[in-house]
């Protein structure tokens, strides 16, 4: 039976158009550092000029032979790590070394890679990617397309490089950065709400939450956001999400001992929910194991709702799925295509789903999105939607009632106090306001301390519910005015009290 083949040109195309943002390409290089047991991955963007870009890690490095194998056809091959070994601190293997390295080709035409291993061996090589690759592929240019293979560039080892100058780990420095990238990032410093990013990430998070959308801060801030959201790094604290919902996750992330530093700014996850007057409804998603078609998918997570106030920036809204702690795409405001319209409440919600087993088959090739009809994705989706529908949003609605009642009570007390002051002012006596059972009428009584006014029960007043407190107050004014003996004075007291009441109602 004839086989269905994919032409290598398709793979060559992928090398130049895989990722949707620079952060996605950089994330892949950071992931390589994680898999190489690095404790720090540093990204330097040459801010504020962006003429070059680098990613360094202090991991195990790799050998000249590994690099040659990778460049000589190993890119995109899942067998590229010859011997998969356990990582430090019980880190899960992200396992993407390969095509991620060429992801940087989307923003530069050449880069230098230096790698040094624990035993002091290593290499430095210069990688040059072909100009106008797509056009050459399309016209089968013999420079890149031969009968057997397609190549996307060349590399050359720097034999003169003194490896003793290099630190352990891997460093990729892209210098032939594309002018379009440089220009976009330079222009991003002119964004309407751009601020100089502080090195203290907590201060940076305050800047993020001060804007509606990160686009107002520009592409550089977006890069920081996307990297912070996507990399396997800790939160700013174990209380970054209320109710201790990320305490365990934070403990685990801290135990991995992995930092990502961009231009001297140590990133943490971008979630930091705190100080909302209405509080938070936060629900854990306990460890769950599903087996669609017999394949296990295991996950846990949380959903948190900031009661009554929209989350800012917009990019924090929705659900973020992580596989082995690396984010797939960004926060999904559709909440994995949730089918119910929850109105403004959906803008109060953020959450993370940590997939610890499975779901990798559902990844699209950009590793930034899912095949949304994959059985494992559907299984998680259905589970999460059920949690949203049966638990989270009902709790949110309950909280809305609680807040609404609390607000009404505060308003009621304030209005009663105001009415008391108004009546005391016009009668020149101390007037105490009482609410009495189910009475229909206002009762005014003289007492040793002044005047006691009992308001009618609001439900006994046959008018619109929202008008009842006002109606009760007006009736009280009326009754008190009627106690005056002079008709003219009755009119004056009623008029004066009514206007004063309305002035601050």
């Amino acid at each position: 039976m004839p086989k269905i083949l994919v032409h290598e040109k398709a793979l060559a195309h992928l090398s130049r158009g895989l990722y949707r943002s620079p952060a996605s390409a950089l994330r892949e290089l950071v992931s390589n550092g994680w898999d190489a047991n690095a404790t720090t991955a540093r990204i330097t963007t040459n801010y504020p000029n962006f003429f070059q870009l680098s990613v360094d890690d202090n991991g195990d490095g790799f050998s000249r032979n590994d690099f040659s194998r990778l460049m000589g056809g190993g890119i995109g091959n899942s067998d590229k790590r010859p011997q998969q070994r356990a990582l430090i601190n019980d880190r899960p293997v992200i396992g993407r070394l390969g095509i991620g390295m060429l992801g940087i080709a989307q923003i530069c035409g050449a880069f230098t890679i230096t790698s040094k291993m624990k035993d002091g061996t290593g290499f430095r090589a210069r990688v040059n990617l072909y100009d106008l690759l797509k056009q050459k592929l399309d016209r089968d240019d013999p420079e890149v397309v031969t009968a057997k293979e397609v190549d996307v560039g060349t590399y050359e080892f720097d034999e003169k490089f003194d490896l003793s100058r290099a630190k352990r780990g891997t460093s990729i420095v892209a210098d032939d950065v594309h002018p379009t990238f440089v220009r976009a990032f330079q222009q991003s410093l002119q964004a309407p709400k751009f601020k100089e990013p502080p090195r203290d990430w907590r201060k940076a998070l305050e800047v993020f939450s001060s804007v509606h959308t990160i686009q107002e801060l520009g592409d550089y801030w977006r890069l920081l956001w996307e990297l912070s959201a996507s990399c396997p790094i800790p939160y700013v604290s174990s209380t970054a999400v209320p109710n201790g919902l990320v305490r365990d996750e934070q403990e685990k992330l801290e135990s991995y001992n992995f930092k990502v530093i961009v231009d001297g700014i140590e990133l943490h996850k971008p979630v930091w929910l705190k100080g909302n007057p209405g509080g938070y409804t936060a629900r854990p998603i306990p460890e769950e194991r599903l087996t669609p078609y017999g394949n296990t998918v295991r996950f846990h997570g949380y959903i948190a709702v900031q009661e009554g106030i929209q989350l800012y920036p917009d990019e924090l809204r929705g659900l973020l799925v992580r596989i082995k702690n690396v984010a797939i795409g960004y926060y999904d405001p559709s909440m994995l295509d949730y089918r119910y319209n929850e109105g403004p409440r959906s803008r109060w919600l953020t959450g993370e789903i940590f997939v610890t087993e499975g779901l990798e088959d559902a990844l699209n090739i950009d590793r930034d999105s899912f095949n949304r009809f994959h059985p494992q994705f559907r299984a998680i989706q259905e589970y999460v939607h059920k949690v949203l529908q049966d638990d989270v949003f009902p709790a949110v609605y309950k909280q809305i009632d609680v807040r609404s009642n609390a607000r009404a009570e505060v308003r009621r007390v304030a209005r009663t106090d105001h009415l008391s002051k108004v009546l005391s002012s016009v009668t020149a006596e101390r007037v105490a306001i009482k609410r009495a059972g189910s009475r229909k009428e206002v009762v005014v009584k003289k007492s040793s301390r002044g005047i006691d006014v009992s308001l009618p029960a609001e439900e006994q007043l046959p008018t619109k519910k929202t008008n009842r407190p006002l109606a009760a107050a007006i009736l009280a004014i009326f009754e008190l005015a009627m106690k005056e003996s002079d008709p003219q004075r009755k009119r004056e007291v009623f008029r004066e009290a009514l206007l004063e009441l309305l002035a601050k109602w």
């Binding site: 720090t40 540093r42 330097t44 040459n46 801010y47 504020p48 000029n49 003429f51 070059q52 680098s54 360094d56 202090n58 035409g109 050449a110 230098t112 100009d131 106008l132 630190k167 460093s171 420095v173 892209a174 210098d175 032939d176 950065v177 594309h178 002018p179 379009t180 440089v182 220009r183 330079q186 100089e196 990013p197 502080p198 090195r199 203290d200 201060k203 231009d263 001297g264 700014i265």
Partner: protein, 384 residues
């Protein structure tokens, strides 16, 4: 002896205490004084941070020394965004930016970028060099040209600086450069751009700045054109001030510049280069402040090909008054500048250079300060 020094294997420039002596005794006091000058009489709220340009090299020791000494302060976001530096390649810039976060780094050959021809240089409206050209394909040469011109424009926009540290640690004169040499022409440009207005001063220009300039003596195959240029400066000085001949004899034992050139080339070079710098400054509407004149520090460093001599010149620079815009075309430098030029020339003959040797260094506690600087660096870059 003049050699083209290549470092001895394993030698770490930043650990050189001779050099650190120059940093702490030569550079630091002037930078401190500059900081005071910049903010003298300025209300606290309006005080600004020092703007510093350097070829600091990967270790960024000079910047970190000024940080430790609180001369250079990071921004409220904890970044050294008033520090601008050039380094030879992307790798070096990358390494430096890790050590002084927020500093603005330019990769590439300094003189090539400064002297790149920009057809729109004098146009007031900025041209967007990075915009995709309609008539060229997306190829390396196109991109390179776009980036170089943009880099140059961005570099110009960082001017002016309160302190310029041109620590070349190589030769000011390159035999293959067309006369008067790329470095000299780059200095002309740099001093020209120093006249650009400073936004923090309501677009007023700087009144002065501090200059540190470093060069090796040489090169061994220095061309006659360069030597003659230095000779002319010295002869002109001697002709203009007859008492200088006596000073020259006291200093060198000769009265004749040609004899000095032939028999004591290092001294000839040491006397000539400050005059070259002073002349370029004068040409670009600045002059060397005669209060301290040009201080010269000198030390000898071993290298694989033999010892070589490094010269460090430090000086305060002042803008001519009235400035060029308010003087008649083709007029002489301002009176103050001309007087200062003569005084500075005399001091160069009078004041001996500081010979930095192991015994000089031993008299000062340098190691602890170097360790303190390195500790500060580890704070910013713990993986080092």
């Amino acid at each position: 002896m003049v050699t083209n020094g290549s470092p001895i294997q394993g030698f770490k420039f930043e650990d050189c205490l001779l050099k650190h002596y120059v940093r702490t005794q030569g550079w630091l006091p002037l930078c401190r004084a500059r900081k005071l000058k910049v903010n003298r009489g300025v209300p606290e709220k309006l005080r600004r941070r020092i703007r510093y340009f350097t070829f600091c090299a990967v270790g960024a020791i000079d910047v970190l020394m000024l940080d430790v000494a609180k001369v250079l302060r990071p921004s409220s976001g904890d970044k050294f965004n008033t520090v601008v530096f050039f380094d030879k390649d992307a790798d070096a810039v990358n390494e430096t930016q890790k050590r002084i976060p927020g500093a603005i780094g330019f990769p590439g050959n300094f003189t090539d970028v400064v002297l790149a021809i920009d057809p729109d240089e004098d146009m007031h409206k900025d041209r967007d060099y990075l915009a995709p050209p309609n008539d060229e394909t997306d190829q390396y040469t196109t991109r390179k040209r776009q980036l170089t011109l943009d880099q140059r424009r961005k570099f110009i926009r960082t001017f002016p600086f309160d302190v310029i540290n041109l620590d070349l640690e190589e030769f000011i004169f390159k035999p293959n450069d067309p006369f008067p040499g790329k470095v000299v022409n780059a200095l002309r440009k740099v001093f020209e751009w120093q006249r650009l207005p400073l936004p923090q001063l309501n677009d007023a220009p700087l009144e002065g700045f501090t200059l540190m300039f470093t060069t090796q003596i040489g090169p061994p195959n220095i061309s006659d054109e360069y030597v003659n240029m230095l000779r002319e400066y010295l002869v002109h000085n001697l002709e203009a001030d007859s008492s200088l001949g006596e000073l020259l004899q006291t200093k060198t034992g000769v009265t004749d510049v040609d004899a000095l050139k032939s028999n004591q080339f290092p001294t000839f070079f040491k006397l000539g280069v400050p005059k070259l710098l002073a002349s370029i400054l004068l040409e670009e509407d600045w002059f060397v402040d005669s209060t301290i004149g040009v201080r010269t520090y000198e030390f000898v460093r071993e290298s694989a090909s033999g010892p070589y001599t490094i010269l460090h010149f430090v000086m305060d620079i002042v803008r001519q008054d009235p400035p060029r815009e308010r003087r008649a075309p083709n007029s002489e430098p301002s009176a103050g500048a001309a007087t200062a030029y003569r005084d500075v020339a005399r001091r160069i003959f009078e004041v001996p250079e500081v010979q930095v040797t192991d015994s000089t260094v031993a008299a000062v506690e340098l190691k602890p300060t170097l360790e303190q600087i390195k500790a500060r660096r580890r704070l910013y870059y713990p993986e080092e």
